[in-house]
């Protein structure tokens, strides 16, 4: 190859590498779909989603099978969560969905527990059974109230000298 040929080859290689990097960013990391809606769209309603966000993963037994596509409020003031699952997934109609947290303060995601029915969920159908998110602040609040109650009963029956002691 002469000098111009080598140059052109390098330019071509550069353009290919750049376009490849753009494609990788868009499709693999950015999650852009090029086949349109090919998944299995289903939805579920929850009393409390507590910080679940769109794009959160949906998994079964720890294996990712889809993601949350949208969150909205339905007519009865419950949170409706739309998700897009793997097209090949056969999910029994009596499956249940729970919002769980990865780690103590980690991100929220949806965990599906498949049911036992023979019929499978069709696109657009609802997952009937749900378990709402645990709100950590509420749990801590309840715990503190309970803990705060018990020494009071103790102090009424006892000497009353521990009134000023803080709750553990």
């Amino acid at each position: 190859m002469n000098e111009t040929g080598t140059r052109d080859f390098l330019v071509g290689l550069f353009v290919l590498a750049g376009l490849g990097a753009l494609a990788f960013l868009s499709f693999s990391i950015g999650g852009l779909r090029y086949t349109g809606e090919g998944g299995l769209p289903v939805y579920a309603t929850f009393d409390q989603i507590a910080g679940l966000k769109p794009k959160a993963p949906v998994d079964i037994a720890g294996v990712k099978v889809g993601q949350v596509t949208g969150i909205s409020l339905d007519e009865s003031y419950r949170a409706r969560v739309d998700m897009d699952l793997d097209r090949n997934l056969k999910l029994p109609v009596d499956s249940s969905a729970a919002i769980v947290t990865s780690g103590l303060l980690g991100d929220r995601y949806i965990q599906l527990s498949p049911g036992a029915e023979d019929r499978h969920l069709a696109p657009g159908e609802q997952i009937p059974y749900t378990e709402s998110a645990l709100v950590m602040e509420r749990l801590i609040g309840k715990f503190l109230v309970n803990v705060g109650d018990s020494p009071k009963e103790d102090s009424q029956s006892g000497s009353g000298s521990q009134e000023t002691a803080p709750a553990p």
């Binding site: 052109d8 990097a21 868009s26 990391i29 794009k55 991100d107």
Partner: protein, 259 residues
């Protein structure tokens, strides 16, 4: 005294408006010759080589270094909250939304924009542009157009390469040195980055920065004083003006489109 200061202000504003107008005319002239045959693809390819291929080394080395620093800083902060699993999201989002396009534009300004200005300025100082005009060749068509368009095309590609090497650098530090799980890093990255919100905005920024740097560099060279001091001053002002306008435009793009 007071009148003099006001006169100075008026003169300054007049100068700014005048140079913006000249830049607009210059831009319009480039656009008018953009699709005029011959398309001069040979010159365009040569510019892609000079501005793009020769910038790959500095872009990838800087990307790797920036990614490794981000990985280290991010890890040290996140580990206090036990959230080191989110390192991929921290590194990826800050790179894709901000650092990738901006740092690429700054590096490319220094590496390639200054060279464009110096080359055109020297051609002007040595009367090569006049020589082209003598042969009825429009210097905007033959010299400026390939350089400006090459800069616009090269910027998003270099930015994507920068982002990928930096994500790789973050991976090396986070997974290799700090012992985060590789799958955690990648899945936190993939879950938090969205094409519409993040990647498209990143590409938009890179293209706009390419337009800015390409126009400023060619314009400064084309209008430089035809002396060695003039070429040197034009090169300096390309780097200063292009860098500052990249940073200012970055703020406004982020504020307007939220990317």
């Amino acid at each position: 005294m007071g009148a003099g200061a006001i006169r100075g202000l008026g003169h300054g504003v007049g100068d700014v408006v005048e140079s913006l107008g000249r830049l607009a005319v210059f831009t319009a002239r480039i656009l008018m010759v953009t699709v005029r045959p011959p398309l001069r693809l040979r010159e365009f390819a040569d510019e892609l080589f000079k501005l793009g291929v020769l910038s790959i080394l500095i872009i990838s080395v800087s990307g790797l270094a920036v990614g490794m620093v981000l990985g280290l800083q991010g890890y040290n902060t996140l580990v206090r909250f036990g959230a080191e699993g989110s390192l991929g999201a921290v590194v990826g989002l800050s790179l894709i939304r901000e650092l990738g396009p901006v740092l690429t534009a700054l590096l490319t300004t220094g590496r390639a924009g200054s060279a464009v200005t110096a080359e055109i300025g020297t051609m002007k100082a040595t009367e090569q542009l006049d020589g082209l005009r003598m042969m009825a060749v429009d210097p905007i068509d033959y010299v400026v157009r390939p350089k400006a368009w090459a800069m616009i095309c090269v910027m998003p590609l270099l930015s994507a390469l920068f982002i990928l090497t930096a994500i790789g650098g973050g991976y090396v530090v986070g997974v290799g040195l700090m012992g985060i799980d590789g799958g955690t890093y990648m899945s936190s990255l993939e879950n938090s980055v969205d094409f519409g919100n993040d990647v498209a905005g990143s590409i938009l920024k890179a293209v706009i920065f390419g337009v800015l740097v390409g126009l400023i560099a060619t314009y400064r060279g084309y209008t430089s004083a035809p002396t060695s001091a003039g070429v040197s001053a034009a090169t300096t002002s390309t780097v200063v003006i292009a860098s500052v306008s990249v940073l200012i435009f970055d703020y406004f793009i982020t504020a307007l489109w939220g990317v």
